[in-house]
Symmetry: D2
């Protein structure tokens, strides 16, 4: 029997349940879990802040495992990784948590906006535990036929990959949309996993300066260790002071590119103001509905000639590229330092609470 953590509904205590070991159907893959991320979204799930969640679920959307079994070949052949290489038992892999993007709807085919495909489901979030081992906080994970699998290169420690977690592909998507030019001043709002990853990725776009606005201090310290040129603590500064500081650092103009990764509505108009005229502002942190914000369309948008880009979700490319980047620049950034604690399945409840309380930067569930 296989143990897995089950979240039965909002607010209910997590349970560890036993599941049958599944035999992979054609095209499917069974992973023995090495570890799975605990992410802010898991806290949102537990608080019932996301719509359309089919409780009970097995949480854990970004995970790494060792291939334990492969299903038989299908008409399209044996299960393959994203590059087209056949998968092998024993390989250490991750996978795209998003499953079922249809490739046929208007958004997939005409709009080329696959993260808005209405058929997409997410491992650990919108797939029910009643349907199987479809989340990472479990001894094994069942990858249905069609799940996108990406091997981890030898030079990339799986703990490092999980330490960045889903923040990395999310940030990679946002920073890509930011279209940072060489030498740009980049402001990152938020010092959580997405913000830290964005601060790193901005350097890997050749930013001339990276300023992280956020808190608490433990996270700002991490930002500094990861190369931020300056940090601004929201607990000890006013928006006016932050605006003054960013302008001071940019010849009075403001940031060339700003990346929002906070989840706080008021951060959005502030971010518009922190950005220079004709700059670019990417909003990726407003993952749940936390209310409204007020801005001045003349001053904050039209006269500024500002570009604002909302950024939703990740696709295969973002995860594939995250793995490539983390492997290539592994020595420059010590991701594993971010891991404050590893939790067994039976300790998942505590992991969730520690993350919700921001007592840790990054927690892993390690079965």
């Amino acid at each position: 029997m296989i143990s897995a953590v089950v979240m039965t509904g909002p607010g209910a205590p997590l349970e560890v349940r036993a599941f049958e070991r599944p035999e992979p159907e054609p095209g499917a893959v069974l992973l023995e879990t090495l570890g799975s991320e605990v992410c802010g979204t898991d806290a949102h799930l537990w608080k019932g802040q996301l719509a359309g969640v089919p409780y009970p679920i097995i949480p854990g959307h970004v995970s790494v495992g060792r291939i334990a079994a492969l299903g038989p070949a299908t008409a399209s052949g044996v299960p393959k990784d994203v590059s087209g290489a056949p998968l092998e038992v024993g390989q250490v892999v991750t996978f795209l948590d998003v499953y079922g993007t249809c490739g046929r709807c208007w958004y997939c085919t005409v709009g080329h906006a696959t993260t808005r495909c209405p058929s997409r489901k997410v491992y650990g979030i919108t797939l029910s535990a009643d349907e199987g081992l479809l989340g990472g906080w479990a001894e094994y994970i069942y990858l249905r036929p069609g799940v996108h699998v990406i091997p981890l290169p030898a030079e990339l420690d799986w703990r490092a990959f999980l330490a960045a977690g889903c923040g990395m592909p999310t940030a990679l998507h946002a920073v890509t949309l930011g279209e940072i030019a060489f030498g740009d001043t980049v402001v990152v709002q938020g010092a959580g996993p997405v913000g830290l990853s964005a601060a790193v990725l901005a350097q890997l776009r050749g930013a001339g300066s990276v300023i992280v606005v956020g808190g608490p201090e433990v996270r700002l310290d991490a930002a500094t260790r990861f190369g931020a040129d300056a940090v601004l603590d929201i607990a000890t500064t006013t928006p006016e002071e932050r605006l003054a500081a960013v302008r001071e650092a940019t010849g009075g103009r403001g940031a060339d590119v700003t990346i929002e990764a906070t989840g706080v509505p008021a951060a959005v108009p502030e971010g518009m103001r922190l950005t220079r005229d004709a700059g670019r502002y990417v909003v990726v942190g407003q993952y749940t509905d936390a209310g409204t914000a007020t801005f001045n369309p003349h001053l904050d948008l039209n006269q500024k000639h500002l570009e604002v880009r909302g950024c939703w979700g990740s696709d295969v490319g973002h995860v594939y590229r995250s793995v490539r980047v983390m492997a290539r620049y592994a020595r420059q950034f010590s991701w594993t330092d971010l891991i404050s604690g590893e939790y067994a399945l039976a300790e998942a409840q505590k992991a969730l609470e520690d993350v919700a309380a921001q007592r840790v930067v990054k927690a892993l569930v390690v079965p």
Copy 2:
């Protein structure tokens, strides 16, 4: 002596004053005015709603004239048009009202955002009548050395060009930023000169459908004559009804691209909602500070994966391209029908009031 209309200050009655006929300095051009546009901005100027206006001014920023005299050659040669051809006395030309973009500041050279150059001045708006004939509501206009001059092709009636007026380059800039794809559904908010031009230009990008949201009826009728597939009157519909109508027309998705040209802050969050997920929204109509707007960053921006682009001002290219497009497609769109009245210099006050009251679609001052 030369007569010109002078606006001495906010609210003060317009006056007609006499000026000496200037002798063009090296590189300068003297135009005999054929006509000049009366635009909503002139009403803003008269109400004192723009900052930094050096009253007294001669209004009139988009104008057409016949070259009356050319200044001597400079080190760079005789005065030339934007294409590099020498100008000749007798030619019918327009010119870019924006003057003095420095080509040397950070915005001009590094930011490539010339409409945010702090040195730019605008004929008829931010150049004082004390400095000369620097506005179009006058018998002659003095083009300083370096003003960008564009001849009107024979097939483009100067009245047609002025009928579109500054709305055309403004809309051309906005529609360019809209990156309309073939077959897209385009919503235009606003049926004034910018909105009508945007509705025309959307068709000249191959839009599959153009929906104009605005009023009053006389302007919506013009929109229909100019090819709009549907119009929605803001006087007789609620925002919810408009959203329902746009979704109904787009398989439930919303507009692919929306262009805002209203000047009303509340139009901005409405426009975000009228646009589909992963669509694009260009805000060009918030030309003066008319207050704030409230939106939901999660629903209206982040989860929508929406792109929002503020659009400020026009550059030489926008006016040059406007002339090219209006000349090429002149037979398809009857611009001169928009002209509700022509006013002599002595009637400029009435022109201003008619425009401010939206009693006319387009008024010209014809000295």
Copy 3:
């Protein structure tokens, strides 16, 4: 029994064969053919100029039909069109000839270059007659589960759609890559179906001038009727004369954007020279290997700061947008005039020969 034209191999006479009427499997659609295009590619197929063709095939890749029967619903529901609306018996539809794009390989998921997916097959080209009614020159066409179906709007005559044929989505792809700006001078090399469609689409991007370079005269006449501002006959001009003519028309600079649609290697370096410095050149007509071309990398590419874009194939979006654009602007362009002849199945051999000899602009097979 159902009649279909079969091409058994390169050079062999076409045959009309009888097929069983298939019963649609779940998700499939059976079309009663209204008409199918005869395209230059069919002549290439007959001459054996394409690799990987699984003869025998039923030619005909762009077709229109009436839905005769629908297969049962699958797990994803009843068969739907690209917009998500359920298909109905009796609807007049077209479909994307490209079938089987996998949505899983590196090119589909990471490269976002679906026209380079190695799994794609094409109706009428790379699907064998041994597998069924998988081409348009037949009384019925069998659309396998997953084929992308697009209804024709009432305002779009199916003959008009076929008159443009596959040239339209191909040109739409190329013109999209051309990123034509308002008022640009566009040169189109080639006056066949792709070139004519490109000349039309350039006008629907607001080109300031469209110059078609090609032949023979019958095609250049069509180009003129479709709005080309000038035509240059390759039979009566030298490359030097054409270059001089294009420069003369553009203030000495050359075309802002050039679209190649010729199939002749030597046209490529000529097109580079016809394009202005810092312009853009799209190469879409080199569909088969017709040999090499020679150019000067310094003069023709590097110093010119030229952008050159090869363009391969079409995806769902290109066909969907073609239908939208042709329906919306149907009255402006009389596509059906291009149809020189309609051929019954038994006359398909003659159709092929007429097209190969360029005796017709466009031929249709109408069963």
Copy 4:
């Protein structure tokens, strides 16, 4: 009196001549030279391979100096740097060698392609010694009013800046056009100053792998020290072997982005083949006319869906961003190691010959 190296004509021995110390006119700046680059272009100049060079010239286009004197203020105020800060005597600065971009011609205003402005002149290349101290191989450099001045930040050693030299802004322009995505495999053809800079900048775009193709060994060793993941020596490999090696490293696909920096025409078709389908190829190294190249438009361009971008010259932004990037990432890349020798004015002839013979990676003239 001021000493300067003068190149009197192609092939003639360099001379050291004495000049009067100029008094800066309004807006001008006099620099005391700290050092000036010796670049491959200087060898081209000496061999007479560039057209339009107004011999005699003072070579040296990328230079660093200390401000010795400032001209009086003009109507636009005191001389300022690119960011708008007033310049001060004693500051260590560089400047954009390109002077006189007009900001008024069609290319400057409509085409937005300032590196194709016909008025541009280049310090050390197309400005004559008869007009003054307009090149860097001199004790002092005279910066005319309007020359774009950029201070070097304290953390950027001026020798490091010159070690990268004009290769850095050139490469920065090319790599920007390359639009490298996170994790991309980037091939750089050429291991000279442009190629080495491109290899570094690719890493500062988050490339997943950088492969340098070139020679001789001393340069490939430098490439490896600067982080290249692999090098391919053109002296010991065939084009077929290089293609095989690049495909082997990319799952059979080829490079996502290739940057050409060789000057050899045959490298261009090879580079097209080294790049994957739907990839991007930037050609920046074909600076002089070295003859023609032959390619297959079907296989190498059209079917590949390849994008090829010629890249000419640098603008202010490229130099400004080069300074920002070199200062920010100075510790990661030891530029000064590239300097093989420093030469006094009297040794300039030897510097030129050492560079022409590729005996050195980088030489500086230090007066």
